[in-house]
């Protein structure tokens, strides 16, 4: 069983914006390793000439017509917002430093 390195776990956690303590990092290193090992099983098969699966349903071309329908009422829309101001969602400032 391959365990993930602590750098790899830290990287994945950062991408997911998760703050892990050392115990958690250690635990997830093992668990993520198990998940990857499970996915590795597919390598045991001979996949020569097999196209990657794009979707499990086997359907294609599901589309709708370009027609406008009513949107949600704004009070409904904003109900889930952590903070709201003048019809906008309000979040902590995000500015890319230039």
């Amino acid at each position: 069983m391959q365990k993930l390195s602590s750098e790899q776990v830290a990287h994945v956690a950062r991408l997911a914006r998760l703050a892990l303590n050392e115990t958690e990092q250690e635990r997830f290193a093992v668990q993520l390793g198990q998940i990857l090992a499970y996915a590795e099983k597919i390598r045991e098969l001979d996949l020569e000439g097999v196209e990657p699966t794009a979707h499990v349903l086997g359907l294609t071309n599901v589309t709708r017509r370009d027609e406008v329908r009513a949107s949600l009422d704004r009070d409904e829309v904003l109900r889930n917002g952590p903070e709201v101001e003048n019809g906008y969602f309000r979040v902590p400032r995000v500015v890319e430093e230039a």
């Binding site: 991408l15 071309n61 589309t63 370009d66 329908r69 704004r74 829309v77 019809g87 979040v91």
Partner: protein
């Protein structure tokens, strides 16, 4: 910064352009797409990414994306799919953007441009369909002191094509010319209204420099935040000069994203953490793949309207216009349509072209307006030119009338009548005025008969004075000459 590229350096540019498609509803839900609107009034569970909601592809968005590719001479994929591009940014309510990664709808195209008298073919790497993000605003008096960001998701989910070029562009000017032609192509193809000021066309650029003749590409930077075609050219001129200066001084170019500051005229490196983006693309499980038959692709190809290059060629041929005129008249589809509608109704296309390129464009520019923002119609121009042709008004008067038509959309004839501008072309009436002018200016008559042809001017002036400038000048001339010849004392 000294802007000196020097003959010893080659500039290599590739562009990444985003164009909003002109559908009525969003790409994966039925919310309306129009510009403006009260914040967060065009959103639903799908474009907000609420749990349990499912996207369904807008058939028109698919058609427009493929038509964009066809207009750019691309190969269209028979099998294509959507992928999730994962990143955290609050203008993206789902924390991922539905985009296309390894199987885009269109690939391997090109667009031909002419910059500085040289024809060039710029490769198009790919065109894919994705969704627009929401809009973030910074609350407070300035961006610096605001502790908050405000979010409006009305734009989130509007269909967008991303167009990526090969690194085939060799100068900042060529980049601008490419964008201008691309804008015309998508506009003529009818897939977007491409209003850069409303953000429906945006462009980022990758740029590097290398000593001329070098086979390896230099380290590139990505330049963002350019809000006009002019800005793209200026930003790239600055950036090329900066890279060359850096290399000449023995330094090295750092691969990074740089923001164009239009007011200061400089690019600035972003102080973001130096970490390559990791978008963890994976196939979008909520959308099934797209399979396009050759018949479907051909049908869309046939439906494509005439594109700018073909139209330039046809206008020149069909209306006998100089290439210069044809290029200016096809600056936008609206202008080309306006010209053609007028030219079909008037026997002198070059005269129509002169008025469209002259007065019409002059007034549009002076008032910073688009053609569809003024009431003037092609039939109005035809009406005006007919009056000039029939000698009802002079060319100078026509310019005045045109300006009023431009603002009011009133027919030329009614403006002319209301303002009493009709030239006096009634021979009988003018003959009488000519006779009176001669009688009142015997000296001038005598001088003329003694061979002083200049004296004719005084007589013309007298007629014009009496008619308050409305006499048809050619007619006055002819009648005066006739009268002077006849009435020998």
């Amino acid at each position: 910064m000294e802007v000196e590229n020097g003959p010893g350096w080659e500039i290599v540019i590739g562009l990444e352009i985003h164009v909003e498609l002109l559908t009525r509803s969003k790409v994966f839900c039925s919310c309306a797409t129009g510009f403006g609107g009260e914040p967060n009034t065009r959103v639903c569970p799908v474009c907000l990414g609420l749990p349990g909601s499912l996207p369904v592809l807008n058939a028109k968005a698919l058609e427009y994306a493929v038509k964009t590719g066809l207009a750019l001479n691309c190969e269209i994929a028979s099998f294509s799919k959507f992928d999730r591009k994962n990143y955290f940014y609050p203008d993206l309510p789902k924390a991922y953007q539905i985009s296309q990664y390894d199987l885009p709808l269109c690939r391997h195209g090109y667009l031909e441009i002419e910059a500085g008298g040289v024809r060039r073919r710029i490769g198009i790497t790919r065109v894919h369909l994705e969704e627009e993000t929401g809009k973030s605003l910074h609350a407070g008096t300035s961006i610096v002191d605001s502790p908050f960001t405000l979010l409006d998701y009305n734009r989130a989910g509007i269909p967008l094509v991303e167009i990526v070029t090969e690194p085939d562009i060799r100068s900042p000017e060529e980049a601008r010319v490419f964008l201008e032609e691309l804008k015309r192509v998508v506009e003529f193809a009818g897939v977007s209204d491409v209003k850069m000021e409303e953000g429906s066309l945006r462009c980022d650029a990758n740029i590097s420099v290398r000593p001329r003749g070098a086979s390896r590409l230099g380290t590139k930077t990505e330049v963002k935040n350019m809000n006009s075609f002019r800005a793209v050219q200026r930003a790239l001129e600055y950036e090329a000069a900066r890279q060359i200066a850096t290399l000449r001084a023995g330094g090295r170019v750092v691969q990074e994203t740089r923001h164009w500051d239009d007011a200061a005229g400089v690019t600035r490196g972003m102080r973001s953490k130096e970490q390559a983006q990791d978008y963890r693309y994976f196939p979008e499980p909520d959308l099934v793949p797209i399979v396009l038959s050759p018949e479907q692709i051909e049908q869309w190809r046939r439906e494509l309207p005439e594109l700018p290059a073909a139209r330039r060629e046809r206008l020149a041929r069909e209306y006998g216009l100089p290439a210069y005129d044809a290029a200016i008249l096809t600056a936008s589809k609206k202008l080309a349509d306006f010209f053609e509608e007028a030219a079909r109704a008037f026997p002198d296309p070059k005269m129509v072209s002169n008025w469209v390129m002259g007065e019409l464009l002059r007034l549009l520019k002076a008032e910073n307006k688009e053609l569809d923002q003024v009431p003037l119609q092609p039939s109005d121009l035809v009406g005006l030119l007919s009056l000039v042709r029939d000698g009802v008004i002079s060319g100078a008067t026509a310019k005045e009338v045109f300006e009023e038509m431009f603002h009011t959309g009133d027919p030329a004839a009614s403006i002319v009548d209301r303002r009493g501008l009709r030239q006096i072309s009634d021979e009988g009436a003018l003959r009488e005025i000519v006779r009176r002018a001669m009688a009142a200016n015997p000296d001038a008559v005598q001088s003329y008969r003694q061979g002083k042809e200049k004296a004719l001017g005084a007589l013309v002036g007298a007629v014009m004075k009496e008619t308050r400038g409305k006499a048809n000048p050619q007619l006055v001339n002819r009648l005066l000459l006739e009268a002077l010849r006849e009435a020998k004392p």
